[in-house]
Symmetry: C2
Subunit: 70 residues, 2 copies
DNA sequence: ACGTGATGTAAAAAATATGTTACACACTAA
DNA sequence: TTAGTGTGTAACATATTTTTTACATCACGT
């Protein structure tokens, strides 16, 4: 079973959405800014539900925000 | 912040992939069949990584396997 | 009736994600 | 310089996911 890693475009998307801050994104999706920070830095990957919420906050499909690379 | 719920097409996709058993899917993605069973029954939603692996096992984009409905 | 395979379910423990609090640094504005 | 804002990070606590083990039911073939 191949091991993969999850990458994300959060930093880029925040930038493209009017320099949205980590705090603003955190408020939109209902977590703390530390959680956003950790996910953005790929310290760990979010739950599926949180991933959906983040994608929704950017009005993007999930797979344009998070990608799984083998 | 609207609460949503996550639905999945695992049962349908297993069926469409030659009656793939829960055990076979579990082996493909590296978890136990109980985990597949629980996710299929929507007892809880999987981690993002596991969700990607399951989608990959069916050769489908993630959002055709899991959907987030508000 | 019997054995086997697929599935549903449950409890406890382990692993991982998230929250809380706190401190630090860089940058900008006053 | 001082205050404020955005960010990085760490330790500890809590919540959620996942594993392990075990037992049950149902359908099917022999």
């Amino acid at each position: 079973m191949e091991e993969g890693s999850i990458h994300n475009q959060i930093r880029k998307l925040r930038f493209m959405h009017g320099e949205m801050t980590q705090q603003e994104l955190a408020d939109k999706v209902g977590v703390t800014r530390q959680t956003i920070n950790a996910i953005e830095a790929a310290k760990y990957s979010p739950s599926l539900e949180l991933a959906f919420k983040i994608a929704h906050a950017f009005d993007k499909p999930l797979e344009e925000v998070f990608t799984y690379e083998i």
